[in-house]
Structure formats: structure tokens, C-alpha cells
Symmetry: C2
Subunit: 188 residues, 2 copies
């Protein structure tokens, strides 16, 4: 297998981060550049990538998401909203928000391709990552939206997903990835 294929298989989700070890500016630039090279419908590139590396801003975003959860009708989300320890980005030092114009039916898929590029680029640089859904789930909540707008997420955009980025604490074991059988059919 070549390096690209090996890297695709090496990518995995990390849900615990060393809060003292930040992603470097150079690595973040390479990762964000990789995002912009993803395929996107009609090559319109209407997406936006908002990377947050400021811990106070990240904490404010988490509080806003928790506020939205606290007002949810779903008991599981309500519980998260009232938890003192809940962190929607697993205390990762960097979060990249992928947003796009919802008027395009392919908007979510464009963001997903860009997020996969982010995860693969991060993996190639020894950086751990995880897909984060909670900002997208709450992006139409007034409190979350006000903060997103302040951060530069275009007001017309919906958030389709985020990437948590950072480093797993040393010695964190990597779970072996299991891939289900029976998901492939080949017709020759």
C-alpha cells in the first residue's frame, strides 16, 4: 500500500486531547489548505472554514451549544446542556467549523469532503482529530448564531460539521479499526 492508502486507513477519531499542546500555525495552514482542495458542487466554493484556537472563544462556543441543548426537548441533549463537565469538542485545542450555503442541495456533502481532507491532512502530520456535530446541530439557535456571526461564519451559512484537532495525550492507546464485511458489491 502507498502512503496515501496507509494514511486513509490510519485516520481515526480521537476523543481525548492534551490541552497544553496546540496545533502549529504552519500545520493548521496546511490542513485548511487541504480542505479547500476538496471537490465541491460546480466548483462554486461557497463554503467557509472558521478555525478557532483561542481557549476562551472555544469555551464560549461550548457554553452557547450547551445553552441550546438546555432548551432542547430531547432529554439526552437537555442533560448535556446542564452538565458542568460536558465539552462538545472534547477539549481539543483547535476546532475548525465547516459551513456552507444551505440553498445548494449538495452543501452538506461539500463540507463532508472538506472535513475528510482535514482529517486526512491532520493524520499525515501526526495530528489527532474527530468529527464534531454539536455546533451544526445548534447553529440556528440564537445564542450560538450570534457567536458564530461574531467569529466570521457567514450569516447565510449553516454549519454542517466541525473538526476537532490536537494531540492525544502520550500513551493513549489506539483502538484497532474494524470495518464491517458485506458493504461492497462488484459487478464485472
Amino acid at each position: 500500500m502507498n502512503e496515501v492508502l496507509k494514511n486513509i486507513q490510519a485516520r481515526h477519531s480521537t476523543r481525548v486531547y492534551d490541552t497544553q499542546r496546540q496545533v502549529s500555525a504552519d500545520d493548521l495552514a496546511l490542513i485548511l489548505q487541504a480542505a479547500t482542495y476538496a471537490p465541491n458542487g460546480m466548483h462554486l466554493e461557497t463554503w467557509h472554514f472558521t478555525a478557532i484556537q483561542n481557549p476562551e472563544v472555544l469555551a464560549r462556543l461550548n457554553e452557547a451549544v450547551k445553552g441550546a441543548f438546555a432548551r432542547s426537548a430531547e432529554p439526552r441533549l437537555q442533560e448535556r446542556g446542564h452538565s458542568e463537565t460536558y465539552c462538545c469538542y472534547y477539549h481539543a485545542p483547535t476546532l475548525v467549523i465547516a459551513s456552507n450555503e444551505p440553498t445548494q442541495w449538495w452543501a452538506a456533502m461539500d463540507c463532508a469532503c472538506a472535513l475528510e481532507n482535514i482529517f486526512l491532512a491532520a493524520t499525515s502530520l501526526g495530528i489527532s482529530s474527530c468529527w464534531i456535530n454539536q455546533v451544526g446541530q445548534t447553529c440556528d439557535d440564537a445564542g450560538v448564531r450570534a457567536l458564530l456571526t461574531e467569529l466570521g461564519v457567514p450569516a447565510s451559512h449553516k454549519v454542517y460539521g466541525c473538526a476537532a484537532l490536537g494531540y492525544a495525550p502520550e500513551g493513549t492507546p489506539t483502538k484497532e479499526k474494524r470495518v464491517k464485511d458485506g458493504t461492497i458489491t462488484i459487478i464485472r
Copy 2:
């Protein structure tokens, strides 16, 4: 830049294929394996990948898609449906259909990540590719659905996208990829 980052930037869409040069069984296996290593919601792996390398089956799929287009209310699609030369997969020798359970709100994003892995794996193996939307757009048409079911696409699945795979004819020029400025915000 490492090989993974270079490969992400090298990926591009190809819309003309050498119909005489098929993707090898070994390469197709690697590409499909890469698809199954994509992130997916709750790691449920409910997706299915249906790879077609048989030209008669591909031609039948194109006719079914054209039939659906011919019945469309949209003039542009109607025109494609009645065209003698229209080919929704650009005459690529291989087409991979990515489908998933529509009951999961993340179904389309799972397939998009898997398709991006397919494109990146193909690029790393010197194989050209293109995202194809038309089978997904028509997967609920009775004629298209009957053929999809015959091919092994689960009846409960929707098609979210396809990957055309093959080789560009020798000497095909590669358009330089332009990436728009202003799509990145970094908050430190």
C-alpha cells in the same frame, strides 16, 4: 508537503475517459477498501458500495437515468433524457455507487467522506475520477430503482453520489486547479 497533502491537491475531476482501459481488480479493491475506512456517524457502516465494471450494465444504467430525465419537468434534464449521446458517467469504464439509509440525517455526509476517500485513493494509484450526481438524483425513479435493486443496492438505500473511475486518454491536459481566496478565518 508530504505525499498525502500533495495527493489531496493533485485530485481533480476528469470528464473524458479511455474506454479501452479498465481499472484493475487489485486497484479497485484498494479503492473500495479506502471507502470503507471513511468516518461515518456512530460507526454504523450502513453504507453500501456497488462497483460496476460491466459496459452493458453501465449502458443500461445510463438508459434508466435518461428515462427518468425524459419524464422530468425540468427542460434541461428533459433534453438530456432525449439526447442520443448523453452519458451520465462520461463513458468511464468503472462506476462506484455510494448508497446509505436515508433515515440517518448524516447519511449523505458519510457517503461524501467515503467518495472523497475513493477519489484520493484513485489519484494515488494514477486513476482519474469524477463525482457523478445523476444516479442519486434519479434513484427513486421506478426504472432506475428496479435496476439498482437488481445490481444489489439495498432497496431501503438512497444513492448519495457516485465515483466515475478510469484513465484519461493519453495527452489529456490537466486544468490547473484554482482555489478561491477568502474562505478561511483563523481565530487565535
